[in-house]
């Protein structure tokens, strides 16, 4: 598969035509999309027009952007002006946003070619894309297995070569887990590094946009483009994002790599074996392995599954059949709200709205939501102590390789456990990324997760690059 950086180099120096690159990717989509279902919408005509424009600019000697001619797919929860944005929900089916998300504006300004909108678990709630109202995405490595989720379409699109890169969003692991299951790189940046303006909100204190790519250098290149302060997002960090590509070849000699000695149980042995191999590789490259403890992360699922649904129940109150999306008519306003929401939301979304509404309701707030916020503090404090002793932490990304369709759909808690290694990062607001690191059971891809502290992306990328080199 063509690397993002090679496409940019070729298109910029004129040796490669952006139009030809787009056609190659469209041809792969034609060949395999009916089997994979990575996309809710392929914007082929617009992609061809945009690619032709890049080629014209190159020919005219104009300066082109840092992503000139790169085919990129967007998770279908990022607003694209005039182009359908559904969140894989019936309630938003047909909605054409009146504005572009900041990341979309940045991608276009950099010369990227948007290929379409990718499938997800409805409103990004899920770990397998089985909660999409439009049917699941298949794992390109084995179509009887899930691609992970919620950004399963974005992960599959890169894995299948439908796009050189894609963007996803990560609230509790929704970039990293599908990246691991599909064998690609997936990055959740520090909360506030990438603007959330135009990202349809799930849990606002946890959501963050990040890239999927086929290697670490591509991820660093794409993340540099989409990062930066945005006055349209009040939680955007008001300082320049750190340079990432420049540190990739620094190596890890002398760096401290944290090994969590009280990791939550339930990880499959094939995945743990790859984690051990990753520690060995880093040790051989001169890093120092440090034992650390994170005693409170055993409570991360409870904190997360109270906080995220609470925020979601509030954020999703806006789908009321008044300003956008679909409506089910009824005689009065309240009946219209209830009928619209009952018909428009799928089961998992309703479940989380109910859980969140309950956790926030009078009489239960202190017992549930209030306590969860305190546990969030404990988890954050655990990380703070750990990062006094180490520069990064290494864990599995997912407890297992990609699982079969239907194997967890009847048991919400079993599905929630898929995120046990990824959730703590979101609660703390830290960056983390999944790097493909060989294969496990049934030759399916395994990802290793590199975690760092707030704005510790440089350290994280150094280690990720070293892991990739060692393979």
């Amino acid at each position: 598969m063509q690397k993002l950086v090679d496409i940019v180099a070729g298109v910029t120096n004129g040796s490669l035509k952006a139009s030809a690159v787009v056609e190659e990717h469209l041809a792969r989509i034609v060949a395999r999309e009916s089997e994979i279902h990575a996309f809710n919408l392929v914007t082929a005509d617009q992609a061809r027009t945009d690619a032709a424009k890049v080629d014209e600019d190159v020919k005219a000697g104009k300066k082109v952007g840092a992503l000139a001619g790169v085919p990129i797919a967007l998770k279908d929860n990022m607003c694209t002006r005039g182009v359908e944005t559904t969140c894989s929900s019936k309630i938003l089916q047909g909605w054409k946003p009146p504005y572009d998300a900041t990341v979309v504006t940045k991608l276009r300004a950099a010369g990227a070619v948007i290929m379409g909108k990718t499938n997800l678990d409805e409103f990004a709630m899920g770990s397998s894309t089985e909660n999409s109202a439009f049917g699941p995405t298949k794992n390109p490595h084995d179509v009887s297995r899930v691609p992970g989720g919620s950004s399963g379409g974005s992960a599959a699109a890169v894995s299948a070569g439908f796009a050189a890169a894609s963007l996803g969003s990560d609230t509790g692991g929704s970039i990293r887990q599908p990246a691991a299951l599909c064998g690609v790189v997936g990055v959740k940046p520090t909360y506030g590094v990438v603007s959330r303006y135009g990202l349809v909100a799930f849990a606002s204190s946890l959501d963050q946009i990040g890239p999927f790519t086929s290697d670490v250098r591509d991820a660093a290149t794409l993340l540099e483009v989409i990062s930066g302060h945005d006055p349209m997002d009040s939680t955007s960090i008001p300082q320049p994002a750190p340079s990432l590509v420049s540190v990739l070849d620094h190596g890890v000699a002398g760096m401290r790599i944290g090994r969590v000695t009280d990791l939550p149980e339930g990880c499959e042995p094939d995945v743990l074996a790859r984690l051990e191999a990753a520690f060995d590789a880093l040790r051989s490259a001169g890093a120092i392995i440090v034992d650390i403890k994170l005693p409170s992360i055993q409570y991360c699922l409870t904190a997360y599954y109270l906080i995220a649904p609470a925020e979601a129940s509030s954020n999703l109150a806006r789908y009321d059949g008044v300003r956008y999306g679909n409506r089910v008519d009824a005689a009065d306003l309240n009946s219209m709200y209830a009928a619209t929401r009952e018909a428009g939301f799928g089961e998992e979304v309703k479940r989380r709205i109910m859980l969140g509404t309950y956790a926030l309701s009078a009489g239960y707030y202190d017992a549930y939501y209030g306590k969860a916020l305190k546990v969030r503090r404990l988890i954050s404090d655990d990380f703070a102590h750990a990062y006094e002793k180490t520069d990064v932490i290494l864990t599995p990304t997912s407890p297992s390789v990609a699982f079969k369709f239907g194997s967890k759909t009847d048991n919400p808690l079993a599905m929630y456990l898929c995120d046990v290694f990824t959730i703590p990062t979101n609660l703390a607001g830290h960056p983390a990324m999944s790097v493909p690191f060989g294969t496990g059971a049934d030759s399916m891809p395994v990802g290793v997760q590199v975690l760092a502290t707030t704005l510790g992306e440089q350290a994280m990328f150094k280690v990720a690059a070293e892991l990739e080199r060692s393979l």
């Binding site: 960090i237 409570y299 129940s313 109910m354 509404t357 830290h430």
Partner: protein, 100 residues
């Protein structure tokens, strides 16, 4: 922590959430929520009395921009996406005169 969630509570919460759940959904939701809330009891063992709640991951203060007019969304484009609009406004069913 609170007692096991009842069907009556689920019905009440669904009303707060503006969801008109079917009888079958209510039954299923009651069992599933009870299962989850049981799992969530693991934090009951923690002493949290002196712990400060954490509401956001990055400490930022609210800032106000200067009170000057800036371009906004195009009204026609916005209303074009509404389920019902009339005379430059969103149109909704009657809001009063019915039980809520």
């Amino acid at each position: 922590m609170a007692e096991k969630i009842s069907k009556e509570t689920v019905v009440k919460v669904s009303r707060l959430a503006r969801l008109s759940l079917t009888t079958e959904e209510t039954e299923r939701m009651t069992a599933q929520l009870a299962g989850m809330l049981e799992h969530f009891r693991d934090i009951d063992a923690l002493d949290l009395a002196s712990v400060e709640p954490m509401t956001q991951p990055y400490p930022l203060k609210n800032v106000l921009r200067k009170d000057v007019e800036l371009p906004s969304l195009d009204r026609d484009e916005v209303l074009d996406q509404a389920p019902a609009a009339e005379s430059g406004r969103f149109r909704v069913p009657p809001t009063i005169g019915f039980d809520v």
